[in-house]
């Protein structure tokens, strides 16, 4: 018996055209959220339906796909999305950042620097950076139209008033090319500096909220801050317990019920590559 067959990359051609048009407008207006007619996908909202639709509209038979979930290639979300595209598009997949042409990500930017020609597709839960400050879509839309971002600065100021510093640690708001304030998706603010002037194209898909937005390559991405409270990223006192890397983002792993814990690379590909290299040297 024949297996159920799908159109290449699962989506029908008219849906792909609609998404492709939205992506092109998103690139032309960096940081602006383009509404699109998101389809139901064979996975629940919150599992990256927006990112999957963007990837499906972009990917071709010659692409090599990498999927990461919080930096790792081998968690459920990453494994199932990779298997999905192997099945419906027959594309090659990899875990190595440097070998991938399309990288779909949930909440991290790989540590290995991205290069020209690569496309980074972010899964986005809440695309509107002003949503928790102003719940009405009609109002936030006008605020973006008028470039009225005072409320966001008030929010950051209140952080400083309450905590003595800007307490936002992830989904840290950024301003794109001096115009639109954008939610970089819930990446740790540690990753924000990787977004600016990146040689890679960055696309963002929010399936439930039906929005697509983009940061073209070589585009200024400014993390919002104040002169006397400049933007700064998390720092870690210890290196990765497995590969010894410094200046990378670390996950805390609880080892036992007596307070034992270790800090290891969030980016598993970067960690494994480093361990392979040191293994070869010794």
């Amino acid at each position: 018996m024949n297996a159920v067959t799908y159109n290449f990359a699962y989506l029908d051609e008219q849906t792909k055209r609609m998404i492709r048009r939205a992506i092109l407008k998103a690139i032309a207006i960096p940081g602006y959220q383009v509404p699109f007619a998101a389809r139901e996908m064979p996975m629940p909202y919150g599992w990256g339906t927006g990112g999957v639709q963007v990837t499906a509209a972009v990917i071709g038979p010659k692409d090599v796909l990498k999927v990461i979930d919080q930096g790792t290639d081998d968690t459920t979300n990453a494994v199932s999305i990779r298997a999905f595209f192997r099945k419906v598009a027959g594309v090659a997949t990899t875990t190595h950042t440097a070998e991938a042409t399309v990288i779909q990500t949930r909440h991290r930017i790989p540590e290995h620097p991205l290069k020209e020609g690569q496309i980074l597709v972010y899964q986005v839960p809440i695309p509107e950076p002003l949503r928790f400050l102003e719940p009405r879509e009609t109002e936030t839309r006008v605020m973006h139209g008028l470039e009225d971002y005072g409320l966001m600065h008030v929010k950051l100021y209140e952080d400083i008033a309450h905590h003595g510093r800007i307490a936002t640690a992830y989904a840290y708001p950024v301003k794109i090319a001096g115009r639109y304030v954008m939610d970089p998706s819930p990446i740790p603010k540690f990753d924000n500096p990787k977004m600016t002037m990146s040689p890679a194209l960055q696309l963002f898909g929010a399936g439930r909220e039906k929005r697509i937005y983009a940061v073209p390559p070589y585009t200024d991405v400014k993390s919002l801050d104040f002169e006397d409270h400049p933007f700064e990223v998390q720092t870690f006192s210890e290196p990765c317990a497995l590969c010894g890397a410094r200046n990378v983002y670390l996950d805390e792993v609880v080892l036992d019920d007596r307070g034992g814990r270790m800090f290891v690379c969030s980016d598993t590909d970067n960690c494994e590559s480093r361990r392979d290299e040191t293994g070869a040297q010794s």
Partner: protein, 202 residues
């Protein structure tokens, strides 16, 4: 029969041989072009449409146009309308302000009244596709903006006369504005509204 055979044939020919893969391939060229304004990319598909200037314009129409996108064309004709209807389902409109995509050939004037989008929905604007003679020679321009590392250069032969003034007026409207794709045969160069495009004598 309402139409003679050559008319029928012209509207049936010239589409993608493999619609799914050639549309994806053409889109990626356009995506690269739009992500890096001023860079020159080639469409590989062997496509041609009556009323459109070359393979690049035909490939763009096949890749992006459908029943949701009214098309305005400077060289509109019954054959062109029939080709679009058969291959894409897109309606041809006589009013530029209704068009999602506008196609003009070498020497045609830039149409007035193209949709600019609104301040709240700047994405609801037209994309203007202009055929030029060639890239690499002719007038020289300097490009600055998102997608360009520092500054870019572009030489174009055969731009519409009013194009530089049109671009300057368009830039002043940001985030509203028309996005432009220049085509020359198989070559495409994108100039999204975010790109500052000025004459360069250097």
């Amino acid at each position: 029969m309402l139409h003679d055979n050559s008319f029928m044939q012209a509207s049936l020919d010239g589409g993608f041989g493999q619609p799914v893969f050639e549309a994806q391939e053409s889109f990626r060229r356009l995506l690269d072009a739009m992500a890096r304004p001023g860079s020159i990319h080639q469409v590989t598909a062997d496509v041609m449409a009556p009323g459109l200037a070359g393979p690049a314009q035909a490939a763009l129409a096949l890749t992006l146009c459908d029943a949701d996108t009214p098309v305005w064309c400077a060289a509109a004709s019954p054959a062109h309308s029939a080709w679009l209807a058969f291959h894409t389902g897109a309606p041809l409109t006589a009013a530029p302000e209704q068009a999602a995509f506008a196609f003009i050939g070498v020497g045609d004037a830039v149409p007035d009244d193209l949709s600019l989008g609104t301040q709240d929905y700047p994405d609801r604007s037209a994309t203007l596709v202009i055929e030029v003679q060639s890239f690499g020679e002719g007038e020289r321009f300097r490009l600055i903006g998102p997608g360009i590392d520092g500054a870019g250069d572009l030489a174009v032969d055969g731009l519409p006369k009013s194009f530089v003034a049109f671009r300057a007026a368009n830039s002043a409207l940001f985030p509203r504005g028309v996005d432009v794709v220049l085509t020359a045969g198989r070559d495409i160069v994108a100039l999204p509204r975010s790109t500052t495009f000025v004459h360069w004598e250097g």
